[in-house]
Assembly symmetry: C2
Homo-oligomer: 603 residues x 2
Amino acid sequence: MELYQLDFEPVGRRGQCPADQSLLEAARQLGVDLVSLCGGKGTCGCCKVQILTGCVSEPTPSEREALSSQELGDGYRLSCQTYALGDCKLRVPPESLTAPQRTQVEGLEVTARPEPSVCTYQVQLPPPSLSDLQADAERLLEALEQQHRVDCRTIDIEVLRNLSPKLRTWNWKVQASVRDEEVVALAPWSSRHLGLAVDLGTTKIAGYLLDLSSGRTLAVQGIINPQIAYGEDVIARIARTRDAPAEAARLQELAVEALNQLAVDLCAEIGAKPEEIVEAVVVGNTAMHHLFLRFPVEQLALSPYVPAVKEALDVKARDVGLGIAPGAYVHLLPNIAGFVGADHVAVLLATEAWQAEGVLLAMDIGTNTEVCLVSDGEMISVSCASGPAFEGAHIKHGMRAASGAIEHLRLVDDRVEYQTIGGAPPVGLCGSGILDAMAQLYLAGVLDRTGRMGNHPRVRVQEGEREFILVSEEERDGRPAITITQHDVRELQLAKGAVRTGIRVLLETKGHSEEDIEQVIIAGAFGTYIDVASAVTIGMLPPLPLDRFRQVGNAAGMGAKLALISRSKRVEAQAIARRVGYIELATAPRFAQIFAQAMYIGS
Amino acid sequence: MELYQLDFEPVGRRGQCPADQSLLEAARQLGVDLVSLCGGKGTCGCCKVQILTGCVSEPTPSEREALSSQELGDGYRLSCQTYALGDCKLRVPPESLTAPQRTQVEGLEVTARPEPSVCTYQVQLPPPSLSDLQADAERLLEALEQQHRVDCRTIDIEVLRNLSPKLRTWNWKVQASVRDEEVVALAPWSSRHLGLAVDLGTTKIAGYLLDLSSGRTLAVQGIINPQIAYGEDVIARIARTRDAPAEAARLQELAVEALNQLAVDLCAEIGAKPEEIVEAVVVGNTAMHHLFLRFPVEQLALSPYVPAVKEALDVKARDVGLGIAPGAYVHLLPNIAGFVGADHVAVLLATEAWQAEGVLLAMDIGTNTEVCLVSDGEMISVSCASGPAFEGAHIKHGMRAASGAIEHLRLVDDRVEYQTIGGAPPVGLCGSGILDAMAQLYLAGVLDRTGRMGNHPRVRVQEGEREFILVSEEERDGRPAITITQHDVRELQLAKGAVRTGIRVLLETKGHSEEDIEQVIIAGAFGTYIDVASAVTIGMLPPLPLDRFRQVGNAAGMGAKLALISRSKRVEAQAIARRVGYIELATAPRFAQIFAQAMYIGS
C-alpha cells in the first residue's frame, strides 16, 4: 500500500498515512482531533480542512453540498470524504478542532515589529583599580553610554543590591536590560531576553512566553484561575472580599501565585529561568486587574461601579509579587469602565477593530460579556451580565470544555448526533454544546419562542421538571442520562438575552439597526468554540449572514502579546481606552423593554 | 532677696534666680550643664555665656584676662564671675555645654528657602455618579490639575491600593502629596506635611523631624546605632557580613529598625503619625549608606575600595523597609568614594565650605576621619583610619560621652582638675578628655615627643605598664583609680597621626603648607566636644591660630535637613560630590614618611 506524508498545520503534526485512509482517519491517528458529528458520513460539514499543497481525491457529492463553491475553490474539503493522492500539506481551521486542541492554535496571527520597552545590551566593563576608582553603578552606566550610546540615569535598587558581586563573578561582562532610562535587570552574556504576556481571565489564565527581541512566542500555557474556589464570577468574588476581609488578601494572592507558577512552567519548557523575564504585560477584566494589583474591589460592585484606575499602569514586578526579574516592570493595559476592562482593550487592539470602517461589533462572550460598537470612527461599549451558564455552571449536566464534554450536537429525526472533546464517552455538556442543544430543540419545535419545552419522544418529566434526553441511560451503559432541562433553557434565555440586549442598546444609541452591522468579531475561548449558526438560531447573535462573523479566539491574549513586544501598541491601547465610550446598560432608556424581548428564543 | 528672670537660649530653660547667685550657679539650678574645670574660680574660661539682653555685674579682673576685648564687646562673660542685675536673656555657646546637652543644640543654624521635593495640595473631588463614571485615580489627578494646576502623571501603587476606600471615607476631600509628577501619599485635610532627615552614623544616629512647608525642625532625637553590637567600626561590620552571611541580613535590618523607631518617637513628640512623613533624606558614610540600602559591602573593604554607587539615589521607602508613608521616597545624598561618604557631602553642603575662597579644610573626626581640602575652587578629599580611640574604645578607662565621663581636664601642679558630663562622679574618660589628658601630660613633660611616659608623682607602674593617675583610688572612695596608660598614649598617637597625615598629604598634593590654611571646619559630635587647643598641642591639628578653627557640630545632620527641604540643595550636593576628588591615602607617594613623622606628639 502506498504511503503518503501528511503535514497538518498549524498544529504541526506530521506522519505517513496509507492511501486507503481518509484524511479524517489519518488526522486521528496523528493525534489531530477533528470535529465530526455525523461519524464520517459527509453530512455534518464539521471536519473541514484546507489543502495547501499536494493532490487529493475529487470532491464527493456530499462535499459539493456541504461546501460552497468559494470554499471548494479555496481548497476546503471535508476530511472524512477526502483521500490523499500524494504527499500533502493541510491547514486545519480552528473551528474543525475539538476545544482543547483549538486552544493551542487559536487566536489571530497578528505580528507587530518588535519594539519592546526593554532592550538588552552586552557590555564589557574595565575593572576598577587604584587609578580608576569609579563606583560600580556609574561604571556600568558609562559602559552603556560608551559602548551602545544608551543614556541611562538610574539602576533599579534590586539590581543595585546584586550589582557589585555579580560584576565580579561575571568578570565584568554583563548584559543589561534597559527600560526608558533605567537598568531593570542584569544577567550574564548568555542570558535570554524574555517577556511574559498574560490574559488573566475570570475562569482561565493564558500565559505566553516571548522572545522580546524577535517577538516570537516560545511557549504557551493555559491554566484554570485558582480564584474560582472563591466564586465563579467576579461579583461572587467581590462579595467574598467584602464579607471576609481576611480572605480578601488570600484571594488576591491566588492569582499572583498562579502567574508565578505559570512563569516557572513556561520557562521550564524552554530551559530558561523566570529571572530572564524582564517585562510582563497582564490584561484582564477590571475586577481581575484590581485583584491582581491588590486594589480594593468593593466599589466595582456598587453603583456607579467606577474602577479605581482606568489609565495604563507600569508597576514593579516586586510590588505585585510577580517572580520575574526583580527590577522588571509589569505593564497593565488601561481599563474602559468598571465592567469593561483591559482585556477588552486588548481585543480591540489585536483585532484592529477600532480602526474598522463602517459598522462593526467586537465582543468577548463569557460570564461577563463585553460588546463594543464601532461606527463612523466612534466606539461605544457595554457590559452584559451573561452569567456563568456559558461556562457550564448552573446547568444540570453542564461542565467545562474538558475531555468527554459534548461540544457539538445535532438532532436528526429523533436521534442525537454529538461530538465530545477528545472523542471520549460523553459525560456532560460544555457551553457550545448547550447552545447547539437549545438551537436544535428550537428548530425541532421542542422549544417554543418563550422557551417552554413541549412534547417529544425524548422529553421526560423528572422530579417535576421537563427535560430532553440527549444521551440516554442505555447509551451510557446504565449511567444517568445526559439531559437539558426546562430550567437549563431558562438560564440560557437569561444569558443569551443579556448579550442580545447589549448589542441592541448599543445600536439604538447610535441609531443603527442590526442589518447595518458589517462585521461581528467574536473573541474569547467560548466564542471560539460556539457554532455561530446555533447562536444566531437562538437569537443570542443577530440574524446576519454567517460570513459576517469572525471568531478570533483569545484576542485578549494576542493583544497582551502585542503590547509586550511593541511600545507603539501600548500607545495605541491607551488611545483606544480613551476613545471608547461606555453605557451603563441598566440606565439605557429602553433597557427593560429590550431585555424582555431579547429573552424570546429566536429574537 | 531680689529675684531675676533668666532665659538660657538656645536650650530654652527659663527660671528665677536670686541676686546673690552667679549665672553659673543659676544655670545649674535650671538644669543647664555648663563646663567648669576650675570650679568657679574664673580661671579655666570654660563657662562662657553671651548676654543678649539685660544688665549684669561689671567684668572681673579674671574675666578681663580670660576673654578678649572683642569677646567682652560682644557680651561674652564667664558665668561663674557674673551676677544678674535684672532680668536677662543669655545665649549659651555650644562649647560651654557638657557633651550630652550640647547635642541638643549643636550644629549650624543654616536656613534655606523651603523648596521641598514633595508638595501637598488639598483637593475636593466631585463624587462619581451614573452620569460621571470617571475612575477614582483619574478623578484625583483631574482635581489636582483643575484646582491647583498640578500636572501629575502617576499615583504610587500603595496609594492606589487605598485610594478608593479612602476617598469615600474622607468624603472626597483629600490632601495629596505630589513629588515630581507622582502622587506619593494621600491623607485627610487635617494632616501634616512632614519630612525626616537622618544622619546615620557608625556610632550614633541623629534624626530630625521637619515641617516640609515651613522648613522648621519640629523634633530632634539621637540614638546609638544598634549595629554597634556587630562591630564598633565599619571594617569590623563588613568583616562580619563576610564571615557570617546569615548575619549580614540582620545587620542590615538593625539600622532600618532603629530608623523606624526613631520615626515613631519623633512623631510621638509632636503627636503625629509616621505615615505623615512624606519624604526622607538619609546621609551616612559609604558603608552605612550601603548597609542601609542592603547593598553588599564586601568590596568596600577590598582594594581598590570602590562603592557600589556614588550618585544620589531616590528609592521608595518600602523598598528599604522604612515605615513612613508607603509611597514616599528616601533620598540618599551622593557618596564621594568608598571611605568618603554622603555624610561628608552633607558637611560640605551645610558649611558651604565648597564655595569658600582661599584655602580651607573641612573635616569630620571620628572612627574614620574624612578631610577635604578646598583651594582655588578645587576640592580633594582623603579618608584617615583614625580608629575608635576617639570614641573611648581600646582605651583602658575610655568610655562614650555619657554621664560621669571626664570630658575636660587640666593639670595644675600635681593636681588634676576635671569636668565630668552632668557633674556626676567620674567613671572614665570620653574622647575629648583623652585628648586633654594627652596634651596636659605633654605640656607638663610627662610625655616626650615619642610618646614615652616619664616620671611624675602621679605615674605608677601597674602590671608592667606605666600609667598616669587622673583620679586616685582615694578620690574615688576606694574604687580603682582612673588612669591613662602608656598603651592608651600609643593608641592615641596612631589616631592623631592618621588625621594629621591626611591633612598633610592633601596639602602636599596641592602644593600648600599648613600655614596657608585660612579656616578649619571641624564637624561631627567628637569634633564639637574637643578642646581645639589640646588637639593642636598634641599635633592632631596643625599649629594655627585658634580663631581659624570653627567647630560646627553635626553638620552632616544639618546637610541632611537642607537636602530634605530644598531641591536646590540636592542639586548642589550632586555638584559637590562630582567635583570632590579623592586620594587613596595609602597610595600617596610620601605616605609612610609623613605618617611616621605625624606619630610624634606635637608634630
